[in-house]
């Protein structure tokens, strides 16, 4: 098999053109995942009655569904029911007006909410119970203790697990090809359908993912050092 550098470069450029789509597919779910995931983890760790067990059930059930399956289901619902819903809400838009990247973002968000909540729950559980008691004893409210004491200590513990989540999310974002959204992989293989240089196309996509992931990991390590400056650097 000959490796054609020109085709590779062309694929690289096409892949990069669609990088913004991948960025949207990664960072919107990441932000939603971090905020809702933290909330779910706190509700579960502090054992809020009823809601805590309901969320635990939801996380367990939802994590058992492959992301492609969830994506297909949402896409079908979106295509079949969007017009009815728009009519019901008296919106003037139709299914063809809406970019279905939002279906991808929705599916990836739900997945990342679940997995991030588990990562953060693990980090929260690693914090000594005595920290909560110390907060109580100096007269802080529960919320003050969580915001000022528990979360700042949770962050450096959670970061290694969150890196895993983000890297997983970056790679999982390529499954949205299945519903026709063009992101890095689909973009990089656009020239291949003309040149038949599929190997170069996929290699270019892999290259972009690799660089993207490396940048994210580098930034996360810096963030971990910064947020964990109060810890004795035994294991870091």
């Amino acid at each position: 098999m000959n490796f054609n550098l020109d085709h590779f470069k062309e694929s690289l450029i096409y892949g990069l053109i669609y990088l913004p789509n991948t960025l949207r597919l990664v960072f919107i779910p990441l932000v939603i995942g971090l905020s809702l995931g933290t909330l779910i983890a706190l509700v579960r760790v502090y054992k809020v009655p009823v809601i805590g067990s309901l969320l635990a059930l939801f996380v367990t059930v939802y994590q058992g569904v492959p992301i492609v399956v969830a994506l297909m289901i949402y896409n079908l619902i979106f295509m079949l029911k969007f017009n009815d819903l728009a009519a019901f809400l008296h919106l003037k838009s139709e299914v063809s007006d809406v970019n279905n990247i939002w279906v991808g973002i929705f599916a990836l968000s739900l997945t990342s909410v679940c997995s991030i909540s588990e990562a953060i729950r693990g980090a929260l559980l690693s914090i000594d119970k005595g920290q909560n008691e110390a907060g109580d004893s100096v007269g802080l409210t529960k919320v003050q203790t969580i915001v000022r004491i528990i979360i700042p200590q949770m962050i450096p513990v959670a970061i290694p697990m969150l890196i895993n989540n983000v890297v997983g999310l970056i790679k999982a974002s390529s499954v949205v090809m299945a519903i026709g959204i063009v992101e890095i992989v689909a973009g990089a293989t656009i020239p291949s359908s003309r040149t038949y240089a599929f190997f170069e196309g996929y290699a270019a996509a892999a290259m972009i993912y690799w660089a993207f992931t490396a940048v994210v990991e580098g930034l996360a390590q810096k963030l971990k050092k910064y947020t964990g400056k109060f810890r004795r650097n035994l294991y870091d």
Binding site: D128, G130, Q131, E133, A134, G135, D136, S137, V138, G139, L140, T141, Q144, R148, I149, P152, Q153, F230, R231, R232
Partner: protein
């Protein structure tokens, strides 16, 4: 004045506190002695609502609350009148020594930051840590951490400071420096309830000694009365075992 009346606490089927009542006058230093599992730490934790008692009443100054049914506001109110020094220090790991001391003032009591810092510096100087303001707990020795813990409790100017075995986690050399600080707190006339195994400390500092065993108060009285003339056989037994281990101590 602090008064605990008829407190009961169960962990599962294990009755840890069986109807305990304790009264502490203002400025008094009360030392609670007793074997492990006698319920002394649980009693202390119930007073600060770190543990929810199954029944009983608590009076601190002019506030009286039901230990089982107290609402969130009442609990916060009681906690802001008390301070707790933990066996394993429990300093806020993400905050420096001075931030640890300031936290209760700034966040719970809304003292302006500059004023809180001034008070915190004073408290840390007082426990001999004037050169350790910006150290994180992980960078301090056990004795230093416990002194920050004492400063953190002391700076809140509480009606009572509760000490839960403050020297049990320290090595013998560090016990002395920590006990000295606690003695100085006592000399300031602050009401204190101290759970400890340090007999000589109890003898030197306590106004009243309470001996607990099996979830009840077996005997209480002045240190002289308890140490040299215990009425109950159980007290005698306990003291004889401990005191024979302590060469510095003689009756």
């Amino acid at each position: 004045m602090i008064e605990v009346k008829n407190i009961k606490k169960e962990f599962g089927k294990h009755l840890v506190l069986k109807d305990v009542s304790v009264k502490v006058e203002d400025g008094q230093v009360v030392v609670i002695l007793g074997p492990s599992g006698s319920g002394k730490t649980t009693l202390l934790r119930c007073i600060n609502f770190l543990e929810n008692a199954d029944s009983g009443r608590l009076t601190i100054g002019d506030t009286e609350v039901d230990l089982k049914r107290a609402g969130k506001k009442e609990i916060l109110n009681i906690r802001r009148k008390t301070a707790f020094v933990f066996q394993n220090y429990n300093l806020f790991a993400n905050k420096t020594a001075i931030e640890n001391v300031m936290e209760g003032l700034v966040t719970a009591r809304r003292v302006p930051k500059a004023k809180a810092r001034e008070q915190a510096e004073e408290a840390l100087n007082w426990v001999g840590l004037s050169d350790r303001y910006d150290y994180y707990p992980a960078q301090l020795s056990g004795g230093q951490q416990q002194r920050v813990g004492i400063a953190r409790a002391f700076v809140l100017d509480p009606e009572v400071i509760l000490f839960d075995e403050p020297t049990s986690a320290l090595d013998p050399e560090l016990v002395g420096e920590t006990l000295d600080i606690i003695k100085r707190v006592a000399e300031k006339g602050i009401t204190m309830i101290v759970v400890t195994h340090e007999m000589s400390f109890a003898q030197d500092v306590a106004d009243k000694v309470i001996f607990m065993d099996g979830g009840v108060v077996v005997e209480e009285g002045t240190p002289e009365a308890i140490f040299s003339n215990p009425r109950e056989e159980r007290t005698r037994q306990f003291l004889s075992r401990i005191i024979s281990l302590d060469p510095n101590y003689s009756i």
